[in-house]
């Protein structure tokens, strides 16, 4: 089939515009991608540092909660002692 010259020109213009807009959206998407990627990396870095902190807190906790430490504090600071057998009274239910 044959198009008139006007129709051909119109077609040409539409196609050119479509190509152009597609090209721009490619660039834009690429840009968005970069922006999001940078954000992702930032969040990953945060996660990383939180992980480090968590590990260090775990270590800190287990250092403070070490049985030897608790025992020392209970004995020295709180004057606690293990009840002797004759100090224990058992309650019959």
């Amino acid at each position: 089939m044959k198009l008139s010259v006007r129709a051909q020109i119109l077609c040409m213009i539409i196609l050119t515009l479509m190509v152009l807009s597609s090209a721009i959206s490619v660039v834009y998407t690429k840009h968005l991608n970069r922006v999001n990627f940078v954000e992702l990396k930032k969040q990953q870095a945060i996660k990383d540092s939180k992980n480090i902190e968590w590990g260090q807190l775990q270590l800190e906790e287990s250092t403070f909660a070490a049985s030897s430490e608790i025992e020392k504090r209970a004995k020295n600071q709180l004057n606690m002692s293990q009840p002797q057998a004759d100090e224990i009274v058992m309650i019959r239910q």
Binding site: Q56, T63, S67, M90, I91, R92
Partner: protein, 596 residues
């Protein structure tokens, strides 16, 4: 040249428009060969240029693209951390935490000026030594040299801020052991590259180990990653592993062992505490131990996990198994009197002695007094193949199948090699060897109604399949006999735990030295079960070479058992079963009105 060409071009164009073959224009004469040469060379250039354009754009575009990418595409490694080791209650026993290592590319580092000075201060190394190290590696053409490994991760930003060329940082992991020497022998060790070399770190290395991932990324000119092109391999962090160890019980065990080593000036001491029903190891400790966080002054001798790698002769602690075999095979009965007078007997050319003349004993009192003569007479009544088979059944000479690296298998000589003397000495625990762990496993048979359960160092949630090696009746009979050992009349009065009924057996073993037995070096042993009415825990204590006068299992090892057991029973909330004895005070539960 250009100016000369231009008129020629005009001429050529004009020539085209007039007559293709004309060589005479505006009265000027140009020779035809020059004209053709010109046209030809111009065409050739045009063809070459368009081919080159096609070549670059279409045919060989991979090459250029690769070249371009090579300048900003990098494959980076995504670190994966090693799994944690946890105790049965989820307490951390080993944990990998990120640290930072500083490295240099020697060729790029400026060595002439003082730009390295702040770095030297930051990583705590003398500037001179640092420069020397880098320049040495420079002459060797090395591209990578560690300056300092495993620094606090907060230093990473500071090192980066210095912005010295050729100085870079690397993220690594360091293993921390919060319980340090208390759990050192079970948990084990890693080398500097995070590979297990001892204990559980070695046994479960494949499981704990993470697999680092690979990512292809785009970097800009400041080496900042701007895009991920292709995730080649996702990182796989290592799996966590829950051990059967209870950190609290482990601490108590270690503390008591340290005390006994000091008190009796012993070479070492070992304790194994088992859950009788599940076969799980709740505590396994050795003293002296080592600090896995700081190996700088490590005595390699302390690395040894004696509970699993030291073979000991069980001595008197084997006697209950001889009695059980006799009862099980109906070769003896408890009512059978055994005359042990005059306190010694001869078998072949060996003399077997008791500490004194016990006179007439039965099976219970043989165990209670730990009479060597009595048990020898019992053992001599049992055919040797029967004795061998039953002892093998109860795990002697067999592996515990715990799978722990370096664990040794006990030794029980084949009955074909036994003579009468061997059978006699075996009955009181010489000429046979076990590890403390294996001895605990064997005692668990009495605690478990005759079932031999595999021992495990990982939490098994109580799912076990035991193997019946003794009938329930015989196992209970022996348990009742062992209860009489922990009495004023028995050898292990010091193993008693207030509020609980305890069964157990002492052992005092002369240490084997090349070709004979030492005169004054002893092992003090105690193996016990509590509470006797419904056994939950089994423990074995071994004290190596106590040398402060006392060396009997009943006076050296039994108190350790009592101390550990009383706290373990309390911590595990196991109800007292001996509430009617003299040393327990009872009160009626208060009436409800009082509470309100």
């Amino acid at each position: 040249m250009k100016k000369a060409k231009k008129p020629a071009k005009e001429i050529a164009i004009k020539a085209k428009f007039s007559d293709a073959s004309a060589s005479v224009v505006a009265g000027k004469q140009i020779s035809s060969w020059r004209y053709f040469l010109l046209v030809f060379s111009m065409l050739a250039v045009a063809v070459f240029l368009s081919y080159r354009a096609l070549d670059i754009q279409v045919l060989d575009n991979d090459f250029l693209q690769n070249q371009g990418q090579a300048r900003h595409l990098r494959t980076i490694s995504l670190p994966a951390h090693r799994g944690m080791l946890l105790d049965r209650n989820g307490e951390v026993l080993a944990l990998s935490s990120p640290v930072v290592s500083v490295w240099a590319n020697p060729a790029a580092v400026p060595l002439e000026d003082d730009s390295l000075k702040p770095l030297a201060e930051l990583i705590g190394k003398p500037l001179k030594g640092l420069k020397q190290q880098i320049s040495q590696m420079k002459t060797k053409n090395k591209e990578f040299v560690y300056l300092k490994r495993r620094l606090n991760p907060s230093l990473e930003a500071q090192v980066k801020a210095l912005d010295i060329p050729g100085i870079l940082t690397l993220r690594e992991f360091k293993r921390y052991y919060p319980a340090a020497e208390v759990t050192a022998h079970v948990v084990g060790l890693n080398n500097i590259d995070e590979q297990g070399i001892e204990g559980f770190e070695l046994q479960a290395n494949d499981r704990l180990q993470g697999r680092p991932g690979k990512d292809r990324v785009l970097q800009d000119r400041r080496l900042v990653v701007v895009d991920s092109v292709d995730l080649l391999e996702a990182p796989h962090p290592g799996q966590d592993l829950t051990l059967s160890i209870d950190k609290r019980l482990q601490y108590i065990a270690y503390r008591e062992l340290q005390k006994v080593v000091k008190l009796h000036n012993a070479k070492s001491a070992t304790l194994v505490l088992l859950d009788a029903r599940s076969g799980e190891v709740l505590a396994l400790a050795n003293a002296p131990s080592f600090n896995p966080n700081n190996l700088s002054n490590l005595d390699p001798e302390h690395l040894r996990n004696r509970a699993m790698t030291d073979l000991i002769e069980p001595g008197s602690t084997i006697k209950p198994f001889i009695v059980a075999t006799g009862l099980e095979t109906k070769q003896v009965s408890n009512s059978m009197p055994v005359n042990t007078s005059p306190g010694y007997m001869r078998v072949g050319d060996a003399t077997i002695k008791d500490i004194k003349d016990f006179g007439e004993l039965d099976l219970t009192t043989i165990l209670q007094k730990s009479s060597n003569v009595g048990i020898t007479k019992v053992a001599m009544n049992i055919p040797r193949e029967v004795l061998w088979e039953k002892l093998s059944d109860m795990g002697f000479g067999e592996s515990t199948k715990s799978g722990f690296p370096g664990e040794v298998v006990g030794y029980l000589p084949f009955f074909g090699e036994w003579n009468r003397v061997a059978q006699a000495t075996l009955s009181y625990g010489y000429g046979i060897s076990v590890t403390p762990l294996q001895l605990a496993q064997a005692y668990a048979v009495f605690a478990n109604g005759g079932l031999l359960t595999p021992v495990t160092l990982t939490k098994n949630n109580g799912i076990v399949r035991g193997k019946r090696v003794l009938s329930t009746e015989v196992s209970q009979q022996v348990l009742a006999m062992l209860e009489t050992v922990v009495s004023r009349e028995g050898t292990a009065w010091q193993a008693r735990v207030p509020g609980y009924r305890v069964a157990g057996k002492t052992g005092t073993v002369k240490k084997a030295i090349n070709g004979g037995y030492a005169e004054k070096d002893y092992l003090a042993l105690f193996a016990g079960i509590a509470p006797a009415s419904d056994p939950r825990l089994v423990a074995v204590v071994v004290v190596d070479e106590p040398s402060n006068k006392q060396y009997y299992g009943g006076t050296v090892a039994a108190p350790v058992f009592a101390n550990v057991m009383s706290e373990a029973l309390r911590l595990l909330n196991i109800a007292p079963d001996d509430i009617n004895s003299d040393n327990v005070r009872l009160a009626a539960a208060p009436a409800i009105e009082v509470i309100q």
